[in-house]
C-alpha cells in the first residue's frame, strides 16, 4: 500500500508541474500521527488556509449577512449553487455582472457545485442518461437537459475559482449495478467536463470520486480519476444517510489513494465531530448548509454541542452564547436577549448565523494551528472531552475512525 501510494505521488507530481491550473497547494505541516495536514491553498482571489470549512451561500448570498461581515469573520472561500443560480438569475445575467463575484460583490474565492446533486435531490422527475440529467424546471415546467458541457458552461459564467464536475449522483444507500454504472459514467463525464472548460487558466475543475459504499468501485474510480490532470479531488456520494461506519471507511480509502500534492474536498460534511475526524483522515476542505440553516431555527453551535436559543430555559440566561467566542454576536448580546429578539425580528437569525459561521471557522483554525504546532492528537482528545459529557458517549464510528489513524481516545 505504501509503495503504491508513493508511486502515485510521483506520477501526479509530474502532471501537476505540466498543468497550468490556477491553484497551488503548499503543505505547511503534516501530522506525524494521523493523516491530517495543514496547507495553504492559493486560489485566484486569495490564499485559503486549510483545513477549511466553506459556508454555503446557495443563491449568491450568505443567509442575511453581508459580504463585509463574511469577510470580517475571516471566510476565504464560500459556495454558490449552480443549479439555483443557473435558474435565477441565469448565466447570461451573471455574465453581464462580471460573474458571481461581481454580482454578489464578493472579493474572495468561490466554489460552485455542478448542479447535478440539487437536481436529483430537489427535482422529483429527473432522469439520467448518458447525455446528462433531464428534468422539468420547477419555475416554468420546461424540460431541461443538464449535460456536463452545460454545467461547466454555467460555471464558466459564474466564474468560480473552483468548479465541480457534473457527476452521476446515486443515493449512498443504493446498492447494485446502478452504483457501478454511475461511477463509470462519472468518469466519462469528467472527461467531457475537462474538455468543456473554457477557462482552465482561471477556473479550477475538481473531479468527484464516486463508487458508493463499495470499496472496489471506489478504488476503480480513484485509479481512473487520478490519471486525469485535474487540480483537485472531491470525495462524493457520501453524507447522504449512510451508516457512519461505511462513511468513514470510504473517506479514508479515498484519501489513501489521492495524490498528496492536491487538495481533497469532502462534500457535504460540516458537523464538528465529522470535521475533526475527517481532517484526521486526511481531508482538507468541507462544506455544509447545516451551520447556517440551523442558525435560522435558533440553534447556536458551541464546543459542547448546540444550544436552542428559542427554548424557554434561555429566557433569563444573561451569558453570551459562548463566553469564549470572539464573534460580534457574543461580544454584545446575551442568550436572553437573542431569545427575546427571536420573537420580534429576523435580525435574531442573522446574529446566530454570524456566530455559527464564526464557530465553524474558528474550529478549523484551531485544528490547523494544532497541526502546525504538532499537537493535533492532543487537540482531538480535548475536543472530544468538551463535546461529549463522558467517554461512553463517544460515537463508536469516531472511535474506530480515529483508531485507524493511531489515535486511541482516552
Amino acid at each position: 500500500m505504501a509503495a503504491e501510494n508513493s508511486s502515485s505521488i510521483n506520477m501526479s507530481a509530474q502532471k501537476a508541474i505540466s498543468a497550468v491550473s490556477p491553484l497551488t497547494l503548499r503543505i505547511i505541516a503534516e501530522c506525524p500521527v494521523t493523516k491530517a495536514r495543514a496547507c495553504d491553498l492559493i486560489l485566484p482571489h486569495c490564499a485559503v488556509s486549510t483545513p477549511v470549512f466553506m459556508p454555503v451561500g446557495t443563491q449568491g448570498t450568505m443567509k442575511g449577512i453581508t459580504v463585509d461581515q463574511l469577510e470580517g469573520l475571516g471566510c476565504q472561500i464560500c459556495l454558490g449553487n449552480t443549479y439555483h443560480l443557473g435558474m435565477r438569475p441565469g448565466p447570461d445575467l451573471i455574465d453581464k455582472a462580471n460573474g458571481l463575484h461581481g454580482f454578489m460583490n464578493w472579493k474572495r474565492n468561490l466554489l460552485t457545485d455542478s448542479g447535478g446533486f440539487q437536481m436529483v435531490s430537489l427535482v422529483e422527475l429527473s432522469e439520467v442518461t448518458e447525455e446528462g440529467v433531464k428534468f422539468k424546471s420547477p419555475y416554468d415546467g420546461k424540460e431541461i437537459l443538464l449535460t456536463p458541457e452545460k454545467s461547466i458552461g454555467i460555471q464558466n459564467s459564474l466564474g468560480s475559482d473552483i468548479m465541480m464536475q457534473l457527476d452521476d449522483v446515486v443515493s449512498s444507500t443504493v446498492t447494485g449495478p446502478r452504483v457501478e454504472e454511475a461511477m463509470h459514467r462519472s468518469i466519462r463525464w469528467l472527461d467531457r467536463c475537462i474538455a468543456a472548460n473554457k477557462k482552465p487558466d482561471k477556473q479550477n475543475l475538481f473531479a468527484i470520486i464516486q463508487g458508493g459504499l463499495n470499496s472496489e468501485l471506489r478504488k476503480t474510480c480513484l485509479d481512473e480519476m487520478t490519471k486525469r490532470d485535474v487540480p483537485g479531488f472531491a470525495i462524493g456520494g457520501l453524507s447522504g444517510g449512510e451508516e457512519k461506519d461505511d462513511f468513514w471507511r470510504m473517506v479514508t480509502l479515498s484519501t489513501d489513494h489521492l495524490p498528496r500534492e492536491k487538495p481533497r474536498y469532502l462534500m457535504g460534511v460540516g458537523y464538528a465531530v465529522d470535521l475533526v475526524v475527517c481532517v484526521a483522515l486526511g481531508c482538507d476542505m468541507f462544506d455544509c448548509v447545516f451551520p447556517t440553516r440551523t442558525a435560522r431555527f435558533g440553534s447556536a453551535l458551541v464546543p459542547w454541542g448546540a444550544i436552542q436559543l428559542r427554548s424557554k430555559q434561555y429566557a433569563k440566561d444573561f451569558q453570551p452564547i459562548d463566553p469564549d467566542c470572539d464573534c460580534p454576536t457574543c461580544k454584545r448580546h446575551s442568550r436572553a436577549y437573542l431569545h427575546a429578539l427571536f420573537k420580534s425580528d429576523t435580525a435574531a437569525m442573522h446574529h446566530v448565523t454570524i456566530h455559527n459561521i464564526a464557530y465553524q471557522l474558528t474550529l478549523m483554525l484551531s485544528v490547523r494551528r494544532s497541526i502546525v504546532e504538532g499537537r493535533f492528537p492532543e487537540f482531538i482528545q480535548t475536543f472530544m472531552k468538551q463535546m461529549f459529557p463522558s467517554r461512553d458517549q463517544y460515537p463508536s464510528w469516531a472511535v474506530d475512525a480515529l483508531a485507524s489513524v493511531n489515535i486511541t481516545l482516552e
Partner: protein, 432 residues
C-alpha cells in the same frame, strides 16, 4: 416633578413654516442631543429591523434616540426584572438614548380593548392588558431615558362618536396624572422624562382641550396621538395639529405618532411638529421597495442630479390605491401599499439594472450592490434583501430629515417641497 435635563433650543420659529432647533440634555447624563425637526430610530425590541450592530453602524449619521415599544417589550417584563439593569444594557445598546412608546407605529392592532382603567398592547404572545400600575412597573424595569405616558388613543376609526373622543381625552389625562404620581414616587425613574399624550380624535375642541390640559402638567414634551396615516384626511390633520401646537408651550418638543411619509412630514413640520418616528423606511423595506425620492436642494448642479427623475416611476400598484380605502368601516390606508416615494425592486425592469438604488447615495447598499442584485435577492426570498434595503431606506430617510433642517435654516422649505412633492405630482400627471 424633578426637573429633567431635556431642553429644547429653538434657532428659528417661523409661524407656518416650522421650528428649527436642537433638543439637548438627553439621556441620564444629559450628554446626547437631537436636532429638530428630526426623527427617532425605529426598532423591534431595541434592534433596527434586519440589522445587527455591524450593519447598522455602516450608517454614518444615526439619530441619538432609539424608540422601543411596549408592544414588543411588555411580554419580557419578568426577564427584565430578573436582569435588573434596564433594557439598554439588556439589548446591548450602549450609547443611545432610549425612548419607550406604547404601541408599534408600523403595526395596527385590534380595537375595543381599552377600559376605564386599562389599555392593551399586542406582543408575540397576544394581548397584554396594562393598568397604570403595571405600566409604571414596566417603565421601572425598562429604565428608558424618556417615555410616553399611558394613553387611550382609540379614536382613529371613522364614526368614532364625540362621546368616545371625549372619553379618550379624559382617560388619557387621568392616566397621565396617575403616571406622574407614581413617577415622582419612584427612585428608579429619577431623571427620566415623561411625555404627555394629546388626544381628541378629529374634533378640534377636544384636541385643544387635551392640549391645554396636558400642557398644565409637568411633562417634558408632547406626543400627538390618533393622527396616524389613514386615520383622517391630510388637510384635517394639518389643521388639527396647528390648532394643538398653538396651545402647547414653545419650549417643549412635540412628537407626532404614526406619520412618516415625506409629504406628510413636510406638512406636519409646517404645522409645528418637531419629532417623528422612523417606521416608514421599515414599511418600505417590508414591501421590497427602495426609497428614491429626491430631496437635494443644494445649488451645486452636479449634486442636484443626485436622484435622477428616471427612478421616480409610478407603478401600477399605486393605481389601485383607491380601492383599499373603502374597506368596511376602516379608512386605514393599507400600509403595505407602495407610495410614489419608492421603487419596487421586485419589478422585472430591475432584473438587469446594474445601477445602485440611488445614484450618489453613500449608503453601504448603494456603494456595494446594484438593483439587479437586490431584485434577485427579493425574487429568491433571501434574507439579505431586507438587510440591504433597510440600510438604504434608513440612510435615505434620515438624509431627508437632514435636508429638511437645511431647508429651514436657509429659507428653502418651498424649494424642498417642490423637490419632494413637485416631481411626484409631475409623475402622477404624466401617468394620468
Amino acid at each position: 416633578m424633578a426637573a429633567g435635563r431635556m431642553k429644547l433650543e429653538l434657532f428659528r420659529v417661523v409661524q407656518g413654516t416650522g421650528r428649527l432647533g436642537v433638543l439637548t440634555g438627553l439621556g441620564r447624563t444629559g450628554q446626547h442631543s437631537l436636532e429638530v425637526p428630526g426623527c427617532l430610530l425605529y426598532s423591534h425590541c431595541g434592534t433596527v429591523p434586519h440589522l445587527t450592530q455591524d450593519t447598522l453602524h455602516t450608517l454614518s449619521t444615526l439619530p441619538s434616540v432609539t424608540q422601543i415599544t411596549l408592544s414588543n417589550i411588555a411580554e419580557h417584563q419578568e426577564v427584565l426584572e430578573a436582569f435588573k439593569d434596564g433594557f439598554k444594557k439588556f439589548s446591548g445598546l450602549h450609547d443611545t438614548v432610549l425612548y419607550c412608546s406604547l404601541h408599534d407605529p408600523a403595526t395596527s392592532f385590534p380595537t375595543g380593548h381599552t377600559t376605564y382603567k386599562t389599555v392593551s398592547v399586542w406582543g408575540s404572545g397576544g394581548r397584554i392588558e396594562l393598568t397604570v400600575e403595571k405600566f409604571m412597573d414596566l417603565q421601572k424595569t425598562i429604565q428608558p431615558d424618556w417615555y410616553q405616558s399611558m394613553a387611550d388613543g382609540e379614536t382613529w376609526q371613522t364614526n368614532t362618536s364625540r362621546k368616545r373622543v371625549r372619553k379618550s381625552v379624559d382617560r388619557t389625562l387621568a392616566h397621565l396624572d396617575e403616571c406622574l404620581l407614581l413617577h415622582q414616587k419612584s427612585q428608579e425613574l429619577e431623571g427620566v422624562e415623561i411625555f404627555g399624550v394629546v388626544e381628541g380624535g378629529d374634533i378640534q375642541e377636544e384636541r385643544v382641550r387635551s392640549a391645554r390640559e396636558t400642557a398644565k402638567r409637568p411633562v417634558a414634551g408632547f406626543c400627538l396621538d390618533g393622527l396616524q396615516t389613514g386615520s383622517m384626511d391630510k388637510a384635517l390633520r394639518t389643521q388639527l395639529i396647528s390648532a394643538v401646537t398653538k396651545e402647547l408651550p414653545d419650549d417643549k418638543p412635540r412628537l407626532l405618532q404614526g406619520v412618516g411619509q415625506p409629504d406628510e412630514v413636510l406638512a406636519c413640520v409646517e404645522a409645528g411638529v418637531d419629532l417623528f418616528e422612523s417606521f416608514f423606511p421599515f414599511q418600505v423595506t417590508e414591501r421590497g421597495c427602495a426609497l428614491c425620492f429626491s430631496f437635494d436642494i443644494s445649488p451645486d448642479p452636479e449634486r442636484a442630479g443626485r436622484a435622477p427623475p428616471a427612478v421616480l416611476e409610478l407603478h401600477k400598484e399605486t393605481d389601485a390605491a383607491g380601492e383599499t380605502q373603502q374597506n368596511g368601516d376602516h379608512i386605514i390606508d393599507d400600509q403595505t401599499q407602495m407610495t410614489s416615494f419608492e421603487i419596487n425592486l421586485k419589478d422585472k425592469r430591475y432584473q438587469d439594472d446594474f445601477r445602485p438604488l440611488v445614484e450618489g447615495c453613500g449608503c453601504y447598499c448603494c456603494k456595494n450592490h446594484q438593483r439587479a442584485y437586490l431584485h434577485h435577492l427579493l425574487v429568491t426570498n433571501e434574507l439579505l434583501a431586507g438587510v440591504l434595503l433597510m440600510i438604504h431606506n434608513t440612510a435615505h430617510y434620515h438624509g431627508f430629515f437632514g435636508a429638511l433642517r437645511g431647508a429651514l435654516a436657509n429659507d428653502k422649505l418651498d424649494l424642498l417641497k417642490r423637490r419632494v412633492l413637485g416631481e411626484r405630482d409631475e409623475q402622477i400627471k404624466t401617468k394620468l
